[in-house]
Subunit: 169 residues, 2 copies
């Protein structure tokens, strides 16, 4: 993150990253599949899925997804500065946006699997998870632009709004 913030993602070579971290380029590639991957820890997905698994069967799937996302939002709220820096780096490089999107898609897919395990029908599970992620993305964008608002709250609002627009008028 130091190097990326100073000189940008593209102008930073893996050799530089490795040197700064005190190891070899080859070793870097043993820990990360590629240069982009270093910006995408896997913890978030695991957190969301386990949160979803813990949710009561009594609440509607979309609300369970919402609760998990809001909890994740709370975590991001605590690392606000880091999240902003990271977002700036990603926003400046299309290749990183691609990676972000596939990570989010992977999260949606994992959440959909969890919903199916809870008995939600196939396509309903996918759609519920995708809807949650779409709301999360819109909320996250707003959070980055607006320093005042709380991310969890923005997620809740986006989901409510999604409900309204899909209702069709």
């Amino acid at each position: 993150m130091e190097l990326f913030s100073e000189q940008g993602f593209e102008r930073t070579t893996v050799a530089e990253i490795a040197r700064r971290a005190g190891l070899t380029e080859r070793t870097f590639f043993r820990y990360f599949a590629d240069k982009r991957e270093v910006l995408f820890p896997s913890a978030l997905q695991e957190f969301l899925v386990s949160r979803l698994a813990d949710a009561s069967d009594a609440i509607a799937p979309i609300d369970a997804v919402a609760a998990a996302l809001e909890a994740a939002g709370g975590m991001l709220e605590e690392r606000r500065d880091y999240a902003r820096k990271r977002h700036a780096v990603i926003a400046a490089h299309p290749g990183l946006q691609e990676r972000e999107l596939i990570k989010l898609a992977s999260i949606a897919s994992a959440m959909a699997d969890e919903l199916r395990r809870r008995g939600v029908a196939d396509s309903a599970a996918s759609l519920t998870a995708e809807a949650g992620i779409a709301a999360f993305r819109v909320a996250f964008d707003r959070w980055i632009k607006d320093n005042e608002r709380d991310l969890s709250q923005l997620i809740r609002e986006s989901l409510d709004e999604l409900k309204t627009v899909t209702a069709g008028k």
Copy 2:
């Protein structure tokens, strides 16, 4: 597509593609930003946006999006074989899935812009477009698996289902 189908995307070098097309590697990179881009024509996005722009102001935004997507679905239906081959290549390579996702996100963003031009509020526009794309993705997956069903119809069903699940119960 010939080379990719025969030997896969990764085992096909740009030099091979260029040779098969009767030109130089350097020239290939003047037409396509990178090797992956060759599988993603820009026509789809332009089609969807213009279709959206033509829609009557009387119908709800989500329905205008639905209509545009269904029309695009009809076009894919005509190139069914090619669409399936292309999908198989993309499904086998994560890097191509990334590219596909960012293309869809770009389409969603362009559709959202068009909705805003029609007076839809900021976040509602984003959410409506994202919802449409999410439904399209789910429908497309089903279409690939199920040879019998009609894509346009699957899109319509997915959107209806999305309406149901976001309603929360």
